[in-house]
């Protein structure tokens, strides 16, 4: 409670329910016990709040703290970690931190952006996207060797960064009729996915898969 009083009550998260980037910020706020107001944006009709907070990119999420906007989900997480220092999300060791910073945007590009395109991809593109997603999953499988979570014994930055997979990938699989998760090929990733679903903080945020599936189908 002391932390919150010190850093001000006013924390707003501007986002949209279907964005994995927004969700990862929300999970961090919840893990840290930071109270915040969620402001839902309609991306087809962006509010003046969003446009004034993120005039350069006009994208979500935006975290507003003490009236100041911070953008880019990974930078927002670093900001939260540096401002509310309890329960650090990022590793404390500089080398481990560097590894987390190296992998997060790369996997976002290969896996998140890659898989997102799958429900809407044409035949030729589809093969390519699926290939890219598989490559990324292989990398993740390798990273989990000998570990409970990407963060080691406990959930860390990379677990939070990749957690969208446990929900979104399932929805994409259903809509596009493809299979990404493969317990034969990626057993560690399968285990990780299941561990995560059982975790209580994270369980509260579990996203209705059906709503996501309907959302993807609508924009197909």
């Amino acid at each position: 409670m002391d932390q919150m009083a010190e850093h001000g009550q006013e924390v707003k998260l501007v986002g949209a329910w279907h964005s994995p980037y927004v969700h990862r910020v929300a999970w961090v706020l919840k893990l840290k016990g930071i109270a915040y107001e969620f402001v839902e944006e309609n991306l087809n009709k962006k509010s003046s709040l969003l446009l004034s907070c993120n005039p350069v990119y006009k994208k979500i999420p935006v975290l507003v703290h003490h009236g100041k906007p911070i953008v880019e989900s990974l930078f927002i997480i670093e900001y939260i970690d540096e401002t509310w220092k309890d329960n650090p999300i990022l590793p404390t060791d500089p080398y481990e931190k560097a590894m987390a910073r190296f992998w997060a945007p790369l996997i976002d590009e290969m896996l998140l952006e890659g898989s997102r395109k799958v429900p809407y991809a044409e035949e030729e593109q589809l093969e390519k996207q699926i290939q890219q997603v598989s490559e990324a999953m292989e990398v993740l499988e390798g990273m989990l060797k000998g570990k409970k979570f990407f963060g080691g014994e406990k959930i860390g930055f990379l677990d939070i960064t990749f957690r969208w997979m446990t929900i979104w990938l399932g929805a994409i699989e259903e809509v596009a009729g493809v299979k990404f998760f493969n317990s034969g090929k990626y057993p560690l990733l399968e285990d990780w996915k299941n561990k995560f679903i059982g975790f209580h903080v994270v369980k509260d945020n579990l996203y209705p898969m059906e709503k996501l599936v309907r959302f993807f189908k609508k924009y197909r």
């Binding site: 990119y57 953008v71 560097a98 910073r101 190296f102």
Partner: protein, 230 residues
């Protein structure tokens, strides 16, 4: 110096990404061994140290390898605490990181694409780059010395390539990316940056760069370019 403290930097003479790391190490006064890589003929050392990307720069410290200039810069800042590169305040840090990413995506990528393409694609890339540079110009207005304040900081290092590469690319690509008359704050920053003692003597020779990029832009212009942005 104990072997544990050994710092190695794998680089390529004309890579602006490598230069960033050199500037950071020099600002901090960190001694390092520079190893030149031929990126067109990669060594086993490079492929072992950076198996994912196989790209330079790679910083090796305490026997551990780190890739990606942005990531290396933050690592250097956290490991050697003298002459801090990033601001201390979390909000200022978030801003610095944001502008760095923005500049890389819009200005570096834009200028590089303009260099390697023709016609409509080139024009579009030039337009994007100029618009992005206008935002940087705004950020620089009223700044006394550098983005970092009185001394060179993270954002100066990330954007520093502009001071030396932009006019080379303009010449090679027969294009004008920024009109000096329209970017007074940027021009002033460029001059201060180039005069800085840490920067002097680190820049690859202009004549060599002209030859190199002339060659590269021809090669890349005829195919769609992927990862290699040097």
């Amino acid at each position: 110096m104990a072997a544990k403290e050994e710092v190695k930097l794998l680089g390529f003479w004309v890579s602006p990404f490598v230069l960033r790391v050199e500037w950071a190490l020099k600002i901090k006064g960190v001694k390092y061994e520079y190893i030149e890589e031929d990126i067109f003929n990669k060594s086993t050392l490079l492929t072992e140290l950076n198996p994912v990307h196989k790209k330079v720069p790679v910083l090796v410290h305490d026997g551990k390898a780190i890739g990606e200039s942005f990531v290396i810069l933050e690592y250097v800042d956290e490991t050697w605490k003298q002459n801090p590169l990033l601001p201390q305040d979390p909000y200022q840090r978030a801003m610095a990181r944001f502008w760095a990413k923005f500049a890389e995506e819009k200005i570096f990528e834009g200028a590089w694409t303009a260099l390697c393409s023709q016609g409509e694609q080139k024009q579009k890339a030039l337009q994007q780059t100029r618009e992005a540079m206008e935002k940087i110009e705004e950020q620089l207005q009223g700044k006394q010395q550098f983005f970092g304040g009185e001394s060179i900081g993270y954002l100066d290092i990330i954007l520093g390539w502009i001071s030396h590469y932009l006019t080379v690319w303009e010449e090679v690509g027969s294009m004008e990316i920024i009109d000096p008359a329209k970017f007074p704050a940027t021009m002033a920053w460029i001059n201060r940056f180039l005069k800085h003692p840490v920067i002097q003597g680190t820049l690859p020779p202009r004549e060599k760069m002209l030859v190199y990029f002339h060659q590269r832009s021809k090669e890349l212009g005829s195919t769609s370019h992927g990862w290699l942005r040097v």
